[in-house]
Structure formats: C-alpha cells, structure tokens
Amino acid sequence: MRNIIAIFWREYKSYFVSPIAYVVIGVFLILVSNRFIYKFNDFVQMSFMSTAQAVNTQGLIPKFSINDSVIRYVFQNIRNVSLFLLPMITMRLFAEERRVGTLELLLTSPLTILQLILGKFLAAFALFLTMVLPTVSFSFYLFQYGNPDLGPILTSYAGIIFYGIAVISVGLLISSLTENQIIAGALTFGAFLFLWIVGRVGETTVTIWGKLANYLSITAHFEKFAMGIIDSRDVVFYLSLAFIGLFLTYQAIYSLRWR
C-alpha cells in the first residue's frame, strides 16, 4: 500500500510541476462551463417565454425539466470533452518512464508491477477527478435558481467515475506499449474515437455486428447514467474494460523483462 501511495504522489505531483495539469483542466473547464452557461441561459429564456405565453393565452403554465434539458446535456458534454483530453493525461504515464529510463529504477526497486500500475492508474484518475470536481459548482447554481432532481445528478457523477476508470485504463495500456509519448497520445486518441464512433455504427444497423458495435461504445453506456438509471450492465461493461486494460498493462510491463 505504501508503495502505491509513493508512486501515486510522485505521479500526481508531476502533473502539476509541468503545465499539463493546468492546461488540461483549464481547457476542460472553459469548454464545459461555456456550454453550461449557454444551455442554462437557453433554458431560462425558454421557460420565461413559454410561461409568459401561457399567462397571455390563459393556458396552463408548462413545466420544463431542468434535468432533461440542461443537466443531461452538460454531463454528455463533460463526457465528450474529457474523451479528448484524457489521452493527454494518460499518454506519458509509462511512455515517458520508458524513454527517460526511470522505468529501470522502478522495476529494479522492490515494488511489484501491480503496485506500480495501480499507483499510476490512481494518479491519472485523481487528476481526472480534480478536473471534473469544479463542475459540482454547476449544481450549486441549479439548486439556487431552480428545482432540479438530485438523483440523476448523482448517477451522472457515478457514470462519469466509471467512465473515467475505463477510459484511463485503456490509455494506461497504450502508454505502456511505446516509448514515445506522442505515439501513445495519438494511438490513445484513435482508440477513444473508435470506441465512441463504433456506437454510431450500431445505431443504424440491427445485425448482430451492429449490436456488438453498440455494446462496445464507451459513450453509449453512459446514456442511462445521465438519465438517472444505474444499470448493472453498464457498470459491468466499464469495470470489465478497466480490468482488461489494467491486466494487459501488467502483461506489457512484465514482458519488458523478456526483451
């Protein structure tokens, strides 16, 4: 456990020593909060207009769900933006250590490979949480000025966490396969895009391949979380993807000894 914490802290701190953490978190927050403000604004305008209309025409005052029209959208936005930014968090994890030679230090220390992988994984995951955490303030505004349902917000965050675990472990795997950060980054980005787009293919076909494609989509599994439903199938999907990612990373690092 101590070893995991040691690896974790070094890795997490190094994100903040280099500009990586600030750039990634900054870009993320600008993009996400920008969409939030627009959506929130739209929602307020739309509800005002239709309420005014209803008053004028003596009709019923319509009720809009802030959950459906703002919150769900914002979480999908968080999911999509982080898909683009996570490769930058994961690409260096092992690639950089291999290039600089510090992996030799880690592998000749009395650490197990599992401790090493978990420490690094947790560091990337913690940075991901650090990145997502400020978006909790959105809910503050929603509760202050509206009356949203808390449930879907919580399940969406749960979904974000599961999604992050799965995506980061895939990124970690790809980073362990090369010595070059840029190659790792590009491959990770490609893999994420594939796992995203493959869902689009699935939407339009009903064959077994279509269903499989739909099942493989890392984004599609998020939809139910955003609607307030925690489906064990989605949880199992994310966790098994994470497990496969970490397991293959273990194999990749272990096999370095045989080169």
Binding site: R2, N3, A6, I7, R10, S14, V17, S18, V100, G101, T102, L103, E104, L105, L106, L107, T108, S109, P110, L111, T112, R257, W258, R259
Partner: protein, 317 residues
C-alpha cells in the same frame, strides 16, 4: 554476495551473454571490464532484476533472483548507465521518493538515511535544485545517492564515470573506494585504467564470455612471462648493452635509440629478466660499476590496455 552460475541471455539468434559464472565476494570491488557491446550491461540488468535470463541462475545474498525478486531487489542498489532521474523533481524529493519505493517505510529512518547519503555524495549544495538544472557530474552523484539510500549490501554500478570530466571522475572514483568497506560493489567500465585503480578484482568480458578473471596484478603477471624494468642512464661505455646482457638472469635487453644523440644525453634500456626474481638491486649495482650514471630505474607493469588487447585479440584469433 552474488553468485552467478551459467548465465546466458539470448535475443533471437544473438547471444548477448554466453554461459558466464562468477562470484562477488563480501566487501570487494569487482570490475566488469569489456568493450562496448560485450554484455556488461545485460548481465548487470539481469542481476538487478530488470531483464530475465534465458538460462542459468543468480543468487544474491542467498536469495534466488527468480524466486524472490523483491528480496533480491531490496539487497541491491543499482545505478544504470544513464542515471534514472526524474528531471522535474528536486534532488531531495527524488532521493526521498527512491527511499520510499525501496522499502524505507518509517519517516524518521528515511530522513536519517537521506541526510547521510546527501552528505556522502556531497549533494548539500544542490539538494533543493531541480534535477534538470544539474551538471552531469552531479546527476551521476544523485544516481549514486539513489542506489545508496536503502543501505544495500550490494551496489551494482554501470559505468559510473562515463561522460564525466577528469575532475569528476576522480571524485566518483574516490567515493566508490570509500563505499567499498560497507558495500560489495560490482562495477562495469570500458576504461581500463579505471578498473586497475578502483577494483580489487577484474573480470574481462568480451562477446558475452568471460575471458579472464583475477586481480589486476596477477593478470598482468600471467600474461607477461617476464618482468621488465626500464632504466635511464647517462654516459657509460659503448658496449654497455653487451655488458648488461651478460648479467645473471637477464633475458633480453633493448636500447631505445634516438637519432643524433649527443654524448651526455639519456640512454634508455628495457631489461627483461625471469619472472618473480627481483634483480633490481644487482642490476643497479652492476650499472653503476660500469661507470654510467644511473638516473632512473623503474619496473614496467603491463597496463590493463595491453592485457586487454592481448586477451581480446587472442580470442578472435
């Protein structure tokens, strides 16, 4: 401390390390000497647990490297050829981190060791600097501090003085000599004088095989077949060469002649005599008796370069 037996490492058809066996004894400095690509680094990496071997086994402090890798790793301090440094960390934080992952669990113990290695490797001045700002010599010492932090009984140093300036080389060499009492050291180098200066014993390795193993003095003796002294004289009779030759025990005499020598210039002779029989006393007396001024008489040790070339060329022939 380290027992290597029949160790081999193959990459496809290429054999990097070919069936080598040796021991590292307690408290000694064993030099691993060979040209680049001889298999030094590979062997060290296998012992340190970074690479696996194709064949053979290695025991470190009684633990087998394949069965109990964690135990072995905590007994070894390893400095790779390129010091494994995180350039964005401060020297102190880096060494502290290394202490943590090498099993120094208690904070107090770790800070004690930290203070000790920083002092030992003379890093006080730079301990709060970022590693990327350090010179090569300092980086090498930080690497050494990293290897020492958990007080391992065995140190494995891969070319510890590579790329340093002469001043720094002397510093690192002295540090290694000082460490030899408490630690058993396996160090590799392709710089021959370094091996003869720092090591108690040398292993000469070429193309993955051990070509010779002995103390530097004995290795020299074995290959020479005779002892040689070089003398510098002034004056003396013209037939000096013949006279020296007729002395008891002298096998061969050569005079190094230079063109246009004036009468009072130095004359240089290389005199070989039977191995192990020290004739310097008689020789000097005899030379003085001829009327020459004896200015210098010095035994010629065969340098490691010569040994090295002799051994490696014998191998390829």
């Amino acid at each position: 401390m380290i027992q290597v037996s029949n160790l081999s490492k193959r990459y496809g058809n290429f054999t990097a390390v070919d069936d080598i066996s040796f021991n590292l004894r307690k408290g000694e400095i064993l030099g691993f000497l060979g040209p680049n690509g001889a298999g030094k680094t590979t062997t060290m990496r296998i012992i340190a647990g970074y690479l696996s071997a194709t064949q053979g086994n290695v025991k470190v402090s009684g633990y087998d490297i394949f069965d109990q890798p964690q135990k072995v790793k905590s007994n070894i301090g390893y400095l790779p050829e390129l010091p494994p440094l995180y350039h964005d960390m401060r020297v102190r934080d880096y060494i502290n981190f290394c202490g943590k992952i090498k099993g120094l669990k208690r904070g107090r113990e770790r800070s004690k060791r930290l203070r000790y290695v920083i002092e030992r490797c003379s890093l006080e001045e730079v301990q709060n600097l970022h590693i990327h700002k350090l010179s090569k010599g300092y980086r090498q010492r930080v690497g050494l501090a990293q290897a020492l932090i958990h007080n391992p009984p065995i140190l494995i140093l891969d070319e510890p003085s590579a790329g340093l300036d002469p001043h720094q080389i002397i510093g690192v060499r002295q540090l290694i000599r000082q460490l030899a009492g408490e630690h058993s050291i396996l160090l590799s180098t392709h710089i021959l004088p370094e091996a003869s200066l720092t090591c108690d014993r040398v292993l000469i390795i070429g193309r993955g095989k051990i070509l010779a193993e002995d103390t530097t003095e004995k290795l020299t003796g074995k290959l020479k077949g005779s002892d040689t002294v070089r003398v510098f004289l002034r004056g003396g009779p013209e037939d000096l060469l013949q006279r020296i030759k007729s002395l008891a025990g002298v096998l061969e005499v050569r005079e190094q002649k230079s063109e246009g020598r004036s009468k009072d210039q130095l004359r240089q002779f290389d005199i070989s005599y039977e191995l192990g029989k020290d004739r310097r006393g008689e020789l000097s007396r005899a030379l003085v008796e001829t009327g020459a001024e004896l200015l210098e008489l010095r035994p010629q040790a065969m340098t490691l370069e010569e040994i090295f070339i002799k051994i490696t060329s014998k191998e390829s022939a």
